[in-house]
Assembly symmetry: C2
Homo-oligomer: 341 residues x 2
């Protein structure tokens, strides 16, 4: 058996099938999926590249596997959908394959499959290959949602209030610390899992429950996940809804790790990390003005941070209301991962 | 706008939406798909790597885009399904991005989208990134099939007859010629498209129509596409059906290009290319003994090449009956792309 077939056989042996949606998983030309009656499928794909989204000397293989699936899960959450199945394509340099149980690929799968099991996601197929330049993973996530009920980016209207789940900037703060502390780098390399939300960068939590509650209660008019950073993702929502937006700086929930990062000098501004740091995987959504929004949804705090404005070609699309009341343009400058200047 | 967003906006602008299955395409967190009533979805993913599956000095960008989609289409054909939507993730070296209309990525998309239009496949989403080591594309193809009717690899029984569509070894013969002729390499570099089946390696045709006819008529008991080579793909079918197989060497339809390759000395054996050369994208299927199989199905010739045998642990899984009647073991040694020798 070739190394590739061995790897696939290994994945197949350790992949349980959850729920009734996946009729046929790994082992044929295609997987076969049957959505529940009256439901539509939602599909998203995300690439994770070594050097751009992770570094082998910073991230444990388990963290890379977890983050790979978390990105897709977060897109499913942002539609208000229930996750069902994942497909994984992974290209790895020759030196990482075929190392047996302790190998990089096996530990990567450990991280990915642990998160998949938590959300009852079946790994239903994929592809493997040898890469010439570092690890590259492409994840396809599929979920289901009652027909016509998916929450889109395009549903907001002028006057709608803007909300966000959880706190922002924590993932970027962990990364800023990594860039400055060799000691902490050695620690994070060993992180194979994390309890709850202790490590928002290494083991992010997708807001699957909150997304479904928002969809079921009909509270959100539009929704997106904060994967590229609040400023960039709000810009996407504005673009698809053809609106502008105003954000209150004082209302933005800055993650405790971002506050700490500012205090310790790892960053100039904790608020900056919350606005532009990416990979928070929180949900950004809009509601009709005056809608009664609970303080907690699906186990996570939600907070009003601003409002949608009519589009105005003569003004900046987004503005930030400072604590002193001044308005300044809010630019989309979300996290470009490891490419910042 | 960043280069990545520009590329995505460009793809979105030139991607028509075919049919009613894709409710929402590029531009949100997820695409939304609604299969026809009473249907299931089939899903396959395939990676295409520079250096392994193609070389930029051999293949035009249009050929690479065509082949990328053809691989996925062929898997859909092998289930007897109708193709619906594709998702494309592509990582390219920095020097290939942002070259405007004449750039490599745009021409790659030309090839991919031309084939997609031919089969009414909507490009419904994807991801782009910069790679460190050559082009890497991952294609997800989705199709639909009446519930419970997908043709699997596992449905064959002992005594079933083995059939194959078209002729085999043509793609491998084109590749063998490439390795030997600098002049022809210069010609193939310019191939932007091919009429019909003139270039089975550069512009392969997936057997979508034949697959659906076989499913509708209830003729096939098991089916797989010949992507890795007849010997390897028949081995997969044997494995999933828990059987052995016997192939008649004299019955294997050797492609005219493979016959020519042997005559010109580009290969030792045209039959060898037909048995082990990959990327033919023909369909290999089994029928009940004595089933009446038309000579042409879905516009392509079909040919009986052998029969399924009971599994026997003391014998080789597959045997090849030579022209003189001798039986010898048939080993799965399908095309390893550019890794031979």
């Amino acid at each position: 058996m070739t190394a590739e077939r061995e790897l696939i056989a290994g994945i197949r042996a350790r992949t349980p099938r959850f729920g009734g949606g996946v009729r046929l998983g790994i082992g044929d030309d295609c997987a076969v999926l049957r959505p529940s009656s009256g439901h539509e499928l939602v599909v998203t794909t995300d690439m994770l590249l070594e050097g751009r989204h992770f570094r082998r000397e910073w991230h444990s293989p388990e963290s890379v596997g977890h983050r790979c699936l978390a990105r897709g899960l977060s897109d499913i959450a942002a539609m208000g959908a229930r996750p069902m199945a994942a497909f994984l394509s992974v290209a790895t340099p020759g030196e990482l394959a075929g190392n047996g149980q302790a190998g990089w690929v096996e530990r990567f799968l450990d991280g990915l499959l642990a998160l998949a099991a938590e959300h009852k996601v079946t790994l239903a197929g994929g592809d493997t290959a040898e890469s010439q330049g570092g690890v590259l993973a492409d994840i396809v996530m599929m979920g289901e949602v009652p027909a016509g009920k998916a929450l889109l980016r395009s549903g907001a209207r002028a006057g709608d209030e803007i909300y966000v789940t959880g706190a922002l900037g924590g993932a970027a703060a962990e990364l800023a610390r990594l860039e400055r502390s060799a000691r902490w780098k050695a620690e994070t390399q060993k992180l194979a899992r994390a309890e709850g939300e202790a490590h928002p960068h290494f083991f992010p939590q997708a807001r699957i429950a909150a997304g479904q509650v928002l969809r079921r209660r009909g509270l959100a008019t539009a929704m997106i996940d904060v994967s590229d950073g609040l400023s960039t993702d709000l810009d996407h929502l504005c673009e698809e809804s053809k609106l502008g937006a105003e954000v209150d700086a004082a209302a933005v929930p800055v993650h405790a790790l971002a506050v700490e990062a500012e205090r310790r000098g790892w960053t100039d501004s904790g608020l900056g990390l919350a606005l532009d740091g990416g990979e928070d995987y929180e949900l950004l959504f809009t509601t009709r003005p005056g809608a009664r929004v609970p303080k907690m949804i699906g186990g996570v705090a939600v907070r009003a941070i601003g409002r949608m404005l009519p589009a105005n070609a003569r003004k900046p699309r987004m503005v930030l209301r400072q604590v002193d009341g001044r308005l300044e343009p809010l630019k989309a400058r979300g996290w470009e991962h490891f490419r910042r200047g």
